[in-house]
Amino acid sequence: MEAASVTRAPAPNAPAWRTNLATIAALVARAKNELLRVPGAAIPGVLAPTIFFLGLNGVFGSLIHLPGFDSGSYESFIVPVSMLQGAGFTGAAAGVNLARDYEQGWVDRLLVSPAPRWVLLGGNVLAASARAFIPATFVLAIGFLIGVQWPGLDGLIVCYLMVAAMAAVAACWGSMLALHYKSQSAAPLMQAGMMALILLTPAYAPLALLQPWLEKVAEINPVTHVVEAARQGFVGSVTWGETWPGLLALAGLLAVLGALALREMRRTNA
């Protein structure tokens, strides 16, 4: 048999934007496998924020009686924090999964393809955003059962928006560490980092009631605006004035951490 001509034209491809979108969608679809195909995989991500929500409410619920607490109920005050914590855990878990994929060689398959690096990262991050809806909804459902007040549709939408974006921020953080250390042993750093970011805010009490050192830290922590924005509907009404700082903070964090994660992705072959 004669060898066929070896000069091959590349296969005719779809336009780049469509290919990139299809790749992101395929990576998100793969990410859902762990939830659907590993029994109980979703449980840790849901259990941790739920335990924190119920635990914190049971332990610190009396703080609501302190002068300076505008909110009617402590559970309404902290439920958005627990939802954001769930987003933080989910995003960090995406980082741990990426580290595991790297250790097992899967990431090589992605890196050796012609897909742009931002597309590969984007798939991981978007999957985390989507996945964060699960713990957030579970915590909220439990919250409603124990008396959390209805935030209004606008409050709910703003809160979920903050949750999804926070998960993306956490996934960028986790991915950056995963690609830098190339090992799952960086997992505690991924989780602790997000925990610190979300809780060094008016998470447990309003800004004015925080200890002076934490008040100062919370004032400069951009996630304070995210917590305040997510909390609005649960403690009062939603205003653009309370919302835009949260959006800006998330956009800033995504830009910075996203850029760092992308840099690590591009440097995997260094």
Binding site: A48, G55, G58, V59, F60, G68, S185
Partner: protein, 261 residues
């Protein structure tokens, strides 16, 4: 006498091994030290205004109040971590090597517990140091500090025994790891982080009867006011109860493992 001496040497050797394992791998230390310290900072900073609530025990600061709870948290995570390490030994086959050696069976479990006790000791020293650095007084002075350390160290043995029993029974590190949320639940349903009288139902009632509340109160009292016989005895009784439970569960799991292989 000679068997006891052999047993003691083996316990020492296995204990040293389990301590080395933990301190050589930062990802094992981190949950025991870093998370509880982070949580201590966040909770004292965030909920510290709570000391102004009517009914809050007289304390110098919320930090002073919280130290005992952080030590408890760290100690319990050390117990969970010891259980995980024991289960990994079982999965790897290392315990088979021990079972096949001419050493007393109890030494295998006690060796692991010695390691956990050392971690408990480390945790208590760590948080006492943190407290002193950030201005908390130990009202009971040196005797008070020593009592707190002793109670935490023996609690670590108690909780470690439960962890070892679960490891022996299941032989699976991921099962033991999956119990980590339970540690948090037990702590939240105790007076580790807030006075039991000021907690919200149903946590308040559960905390009233939770043996870990007795332990944490026993550790807390020497720090915030001084050594009190009642709290100390209640803590000792709770620890003794958990030790007995852990011993019974471990012995039963050990027999089961040796029988079924």
């Amino acid at each position: 006498m000679s068997e006891l001496a052999t047993g003691a040497r083996v316990v020492g050797a296995l204990g040293a091994r389990s301590i080395r394992q933990t301190f050589r791998r930062p990802q094992l230390i981190s949950p025991i030290v870093v998370f509880p310290t982070l949580l201590l900072a966040i909770q004292t900073g965030g909920a510290g205004a709570g000391i102004a609530l009517p009914g809050f025990p007289p304390v110098q600061s919320f930090l002073q109040f919280m130290l005992a709870g952080s030590m408890m948290q760290s100690m319990m995570l050390a117990g969970n971590s010891g259980g995980i390490a024991f289960a990994v030994d079982i999965e790897m086959g290392f315990t088979d090597r021990l079972f096949a050696s001419p050493i007393p069976r109890f030494a295998i479990v006690l060796g692991r517990l010695a390691g956990t006790a050392a971690l408990g000791l480390f945790a208590s020293l760590w948080f006492l140091a943190i407290g002193l650095i950030f201005g908390a007084h130990i009202e009971g002075g040196v005797p008070g500090a020593l009592l707190a350390i002793a109670l935490i160290t023996t609690s670590a043995i108690a909780v470690g025994g439960i962890g070892a029993a679960i490891a022996l029974r299941t032989g699976s590190a991921s099962v033991v790891q999956g119990l980590f949320p339970l540690v948090l639940v037990v702590l939240f349903l105790s007076s580790a982080f807030f006075p039991q009288e000021l907690m919200v139902e149903p946590a308040k009632t559960i905390a009233e009867y939770n043996p870990f509340s007795f332990i944490v109160e026993g550790v807390r009292e020497p720090i915030i006011s001084g050594i009190e016989a009642k709290q100390t005895l209640e803590a000792v009784a709770a620890i003794a109860g958990i030790i007995l439970l852990g011993l019974w569960l471990s012995a039963s799991a050990l027999r089961h493992r040796l029988r079924t292989g």
